[in-house]
């Protein structure tokens, strides 16, 4: 079972930043990929997320955990501008994403997967990946209709690149299948491949191990690290599987009722009384 050793790849201690955030020491010489400050959103009268501060280093694997309904997916939706924040700011690669939409934020370098899988079900696996590559394929609408040389050249490049990306998960043989007809696990992997196609600086994974058995989860953990090392990008994940979170995440942020209750390394989080209380409830007095 123990195919995976924690922190086997890049052992790098967390270092506090002036903004009271932690990022791995190896990323200190580079500006963080993601800086979130005082982020909040209200739905009607309900405050779903409040005063969230977060910094993610260039090649960090970060975890976002918390009990059900803590607002984790809402944070992802804010980062990708599915929801516009009520307060606070999100800087991606040093650029303020204020008033940007989902597509623009993606072009800045934020890619994601979804908790309830969202593939283009009627399109082939290859086309799903090519849609991830959409903004790197450059030919016009007229070029496509008239099938100008640029069309053939760019489509060939896209095809090769799509198969290359699919090979990360050994999925190149499924390229012609309809995405909707793939088995569950393959659909989750395809979502990651599609997100990687957009050439992101940070990859947000929403419960990537949901529905997986322990050996599949262990494989996923290796693959997440492989992706980080190959593409030299940051990964931030929401996950309930604590073996995965504690195994690969370098910095962890714990959310409860839309507020950060703890931040730190896996070891720190495991010892944190507020976290234990949030997950297990308060100990009875006496």
């Amino acid at each position: 079972m123990a195919r995976f050793k924690p922190h086997s790849v890049n052992e790098s201690p967390l270092v506090p930043l002036p903004t009271n955030a932690y990022i791995p020491q190896r990323d200190l010489d580079k500006a963080p990929i993601l800086e979130v400050s005082h982020l909040g959103i209200d739905f009607g009268g309900l405050t779903a997320v409040n005063d969230l501060n977060l910094t993610v280093g260039r090649t960090e694997i970060a975890g976002l955990i918390g009990p059900n309904g803590a607002g984790k997916t809402t944070v992802f939706n804010l980062l990708t501008k599915v929801y516009q924040p009520t307060r606070g700011s999100i800087m991606v690669d040093g650029i303020d994403t204020h008033s940007m939409n989902t597509a623009q934020v993606n072009r800045l370098g934020v890619a994601r997967t979804f908790q309830n899988i969202r593939l283009f079900n009627n399109l082939s696996v290859e086309d799903n990946v090519k849609l991830g590559l959409h903004n790197s394929i450059k030919y016009s609408m007229a070029g496509g209709i008239l099938r100008l040389p640029s069309y053939w050249k760019q489509e060939k490049v896209a095809h090769d690149r799509a198969l290359e990306l699919l090979s990360i998960f050994d999925m190149q043989d499924m390229a012609d299948m309809k995405a909707g007809s793939l088995p569950y696990g393959a659909q989750r992997r395809l979502e990651i491949v599609r997100a990687l196609g957009t050439n992101p600086g940070i990859l947000l994974l929403d419960e990537p191990a949901a529905g997986m058995n322990p050996s599949e989860t262990a494989e996923l953990m290796e693959n997440i690290i492989k992706i980080r090392d190959t593409f030299q990008i940051a990964v931030m994940l929401i996950e309930h599987d604590m073996n995965l979170v504690m195994g690969i995440c370098e910095g962890i942020c714990v959310l409860n009722f839309g507020k950060v209750i703890a931040k730190g390394t896996p070891a720190e989080i495991q010892e944190n009384p507020a976290v234990i209380e949030a997950y297990l409830g308060r100990k009875k007095e006496g």
């Binding site: 597509a103 090519k130 849609l131 012609d176």
Partner: protein, 353 residues
């Protein structure tokens, strides 16, 4: 590249089938094997095929229900008629005039599509459907108010809001002639449309739509249909691709409208009402959403069908309605599907596929 080759082959079969059908009908027509009424239907059939194929781009490929497609056909028809009739003196060649009329029709309908698309495409689902319906009706009434004439000084256009104005209010010089007379519609139009032009228009529409679907832009459009939020998350500009599909669809409908308009010496704006939009939608749904070849077949058969049902006389539209309901039930109800599967031998169905 395997995938691309397969779809290219599929498209090639579609083109070939259309070309063969055109040759066969032309040969049969020359040999006097076609009835007069069928010959009279050839241009309308071509127009409806283009309408169905173009609406399939909006409904089947973009996945947004439009109930106002006839509105774009109307814009194309009347702008095409105005172009063709006002250039009558300047350009003697009817073929060239027809080409110009189709381009003008497509351009005006495309602009209308863009103007309507900006507000409409922000809405979703049934709300989008009702608003396209509303725009279709608005276009119909606006064109119904239009009075247009041409004389040596050029075009004269007035807008008959009160309902009291007539052609005389255009104050044209001597020798001027009316092109569109308000509620009486376009009258005295020179009928320069031809079956060959219809065939060429179908081929152009097919090339545009099939190649668009197989390109980067087409993929983005289909991604919006399958999952808008996921499409946005991979950086696809929603408005741009929705507009692209909607405007292309409108422009092709405009070209079809121009061809249709130039096939009749008299044409009323009320011809392009809600029922015409629905008719085309029925072609698209029966032919299969996103299935371009299906749209062609459904449009051709269903345009000819009411003629073929002539022997049913008064009952033909009733029969049409019943057939429509039964087909929808037969293709969408699981139990009925199972029943059909038992009646029709498996082998036959496989061959039909």
């Amino acid at each position: 590249m395997k995938n691309l080759k397969k779809t290219t082959k599929q498209d090639f079969i579609t083109y070939l089938a259309v070309i063969l059908a055109f040759i066969a009908i032309t040969v049969m027509g020359d040999a006097g094997m076609l009835s007069r009424s069928f010959k009279g239907q050839l241009v309308p059939i071509c127009c409806y095929i283009v309408m169905a194929v173009s609406l399939n781009l909006t409904v089947g490929i973009l996945g947004e229900l439009s109930l106002g497609h006839a509105g774009f056909m109307s814009v194309g028809a009347f702008s095409g008629i105005i172009a063709a009739m006002s250039l009558q003196a300047a350009i003697p060649s009817p073929v060239l005039r027809l080409v110009i009329a189709l381009v003008v029709g497509a351009a005006f309908a495309g602009v209308a599509g863009a103007l309507i698309g900006i507000p409409v495409l922000r809405l979703r689902g049934d709300y989008l459907a009702i608003v396209t319906l509303a725009f279709g009706e608005i276009i119909k009434e606006l064109i119904n108010c239009l009075i247009v004439g041409v004389d040596s000084k050029g075009l004269h256009i007035i807008f008959n809001v009160s309902g009291a104005k007539t052609v005389n209010d255009l104050h044209m010089l001597e020798g001027g002639r009316a092109i569109i007379k308000g509620a009486q519609g376009a009258t005295g139009t020179e009928t320069i449309a031809s079956f060959t032009a219809g065939f060429v228009l179908i081929m152009i529409s097919l090339v545009i739509i099939l190649n668009l679907v197989r390109s980067r832009s087409g993929r983005a459009i289909m991604a919006l249909r399958d999952n808008r939020i996921a499409a946005e998350s991979v950086g696809i500009n929603v408005t741009k691709y929705k507009m692209m599909a909607f405007v292309t669809s409108a422009a092709l409908a405009g070209a079809a409208g121009a061809l249709y308009g130039l096939n009749y010496s008299n044409l009323l704006a009320t011809k392009f009402n809600f029922n015409t939009s629905i008719l085309v939608l029925v072609f698209v749904v029966l032919g299969g959403l996103g299935n371009i070849r299906g749209s062609i077949i459904a449009a051709a058969i269903l345009t000819v069908l009411p003629e073929m049902l002539r022997s049913f006389a008064d009952y033909r539209m009733l029969v049409y309605a019943i057939v429509l309901i039964l087909v929808m039930l037969g293709t969408n109800n699981a139990q009925l599907k199972g029943l059909l599967a038992k009646i029709i031998p498996t082998k036959l169905r496989k061959e039909a596929k």
